[in-house]
Amino acid sequence: MKVTIDNITLEVEPGTTIMQAARMIGPEIAPPAMCYYEPLKGTGGKCRGCLVKVTAGSEKDPRPMPKLVPSCITTVQDGMIVENTINEQVLETRKGIVEFLLLNHPLDCPVCDQAGECHLQDFSFEHGVSSTRTVEERNTFEPVDLGPYIKLNMNRCILCYRCVYAADQLTEGRVHGVMHRGDHAEISTYIEKAIDNDFSGNVIDVCPVGALTDKTYRFKSRVWFSKPEDAHCDCDKCSGNVTLWYRGDEVIRVTGRKNEWGEVKEFICNTCRFERKKTSDWVIEGPTKIARHSVISANKYGANLIKPSFPIKQAALAYKPIDDDRDRSFLPAKKSLPSSEKK
């Protein structure tokens, strides 16, 4: 199937969503995702952050879709033309979406442990406006301890339902979910029942904001001061592939390995996450690759940075050898340029 996203045409399998197709092109084209999480089934369609404009529905019916569509749950059709970053209406709508998501979100990024790897921070930085128009009181909740390891800050929650899906699909008995309706909706457990399950810690990784955070990491360091290293161990419960976050020689946090979309493919168990915090427990594979624009790469001078692939590809495509036919006879023979020798 042929689909065109931001004037870039590519072939995809039937059943691919617009989001997946856009991600194949690269992070510059992919719409932002707050609730969609590829490894979890059923996620997406809740935050509306990924709305795109479809200017032609398909080859057979080239009429534009009347409204913006959520790209994470809309499958592509043959000959579909999608506009994401080049459509004014999409960009204008995203400003509104950010405003809605931040309606009840506190501005406590200086305190929040998620700051620096927070998807809402990225989203509002890229698409939001710098001022607020709301004068109303924000919904406030007291922070709740969900078991010994997880802290729930309901203030920061954007109700993306990722943690609910994660608990449903990774653990046998989900004990937390969304209570109440509409503006009163909140993530909660049955009478604050503690979550004790081998894979419950993954709700921390899937949370796009700082609503669910690691209590063992609470206020220990900021994300950009710690140094991530890929490591693995022999674990009988999970794959054992993790990212260790170092401060000096000390492992201050263990998380699953996130890909460039911030998604964990191999979920890890609570033993790996919360209890193995010594370097001797792990086999280090090397520094984690970090995107160049990420704040996590600040003050780290390694060569382990992911350079932006899309502009490099574009530059390679647009490259033309210089047509230089000037008289070079006065130059010594060894100094002639290699490109002219090829001709």
Partner: protein, 172 residues
């Protein structure tokens, strides 16, 4: 060896009688010296006498407290990541119940250190601070240090004293 063709050879002719005596040149130099005896000196006697530093001078760092006297700094680390000289380091701590009058936010800096040898007084920490906690004073310079252990300034030196508050023009 000649490095370039730009060198010029100066031909000096025979000196005149006045030049050979050197006396007129000496008298001229003396006159210049004598003139400076009566002009205003351009230097000041620094430690006793101080120049006005101006309202935007970037001097000694201070960690402000708010009106009620609680520390504003929440150890967010933005000053440290903004610092081009990597002079700032901090350790955060969670505020306990009963400490609300001491620290304004849920989290505070237990340790906050600035290495004054590294600091280049660029003021980027002040610009990065989201809590209006760190400022570079316009009225005080960092004093000269004589010992190595005086170089790293901790919270005892940086946090604003309640009986000697720092105010700038334009602040209420």
């Amino acid at each position: 060896m000649k490095l370039s063709n730009k060198t010029k050879v100066l031909e000096q002719g025979e000196m005149t009688l006045a030049e050979r005596m050197y006396l007129p040149a000496i008298v001229g130099g003396m006159a210049t010296t004598l003139k400076h005896f009566f002009s205003k000196p351009v230097t000041i006697r620094y430690p006793e006498q101080k120049r006005y530093l101006g309202p935007v001078y970037r001097g000694q760092h201070i960690l402000k407290r708010d009106e009620a006297g609680a520390e504003r700094c929440t150890a967010c680390g933005l000053c440290a990541v903004a610092c081009p000289a990597e002079a700032i380091s901090m350790v955060a701590e969670e505020r306990k119940a009963g400490e609300e009058s001491l620290y304004r936010e849920e989290k505070y800096a237990k340790v906050y250190e600035i290495n004054m040898l590294r600091c280049i007084f660029c003021g980027l920490c002040e610009e990065a601070c989201p809590k209006e906690a760190i400022f570079l004073r316009h009225d005080t310079m960092v004093p000269v240090f004589h010992q190595r252990d005086e170089v790293i300034w901790g919270k005892d030196k940086l946090v604003e004293k309640m009986d000697h508050r720092y105010l700038r023009d334009g602040w209420k």
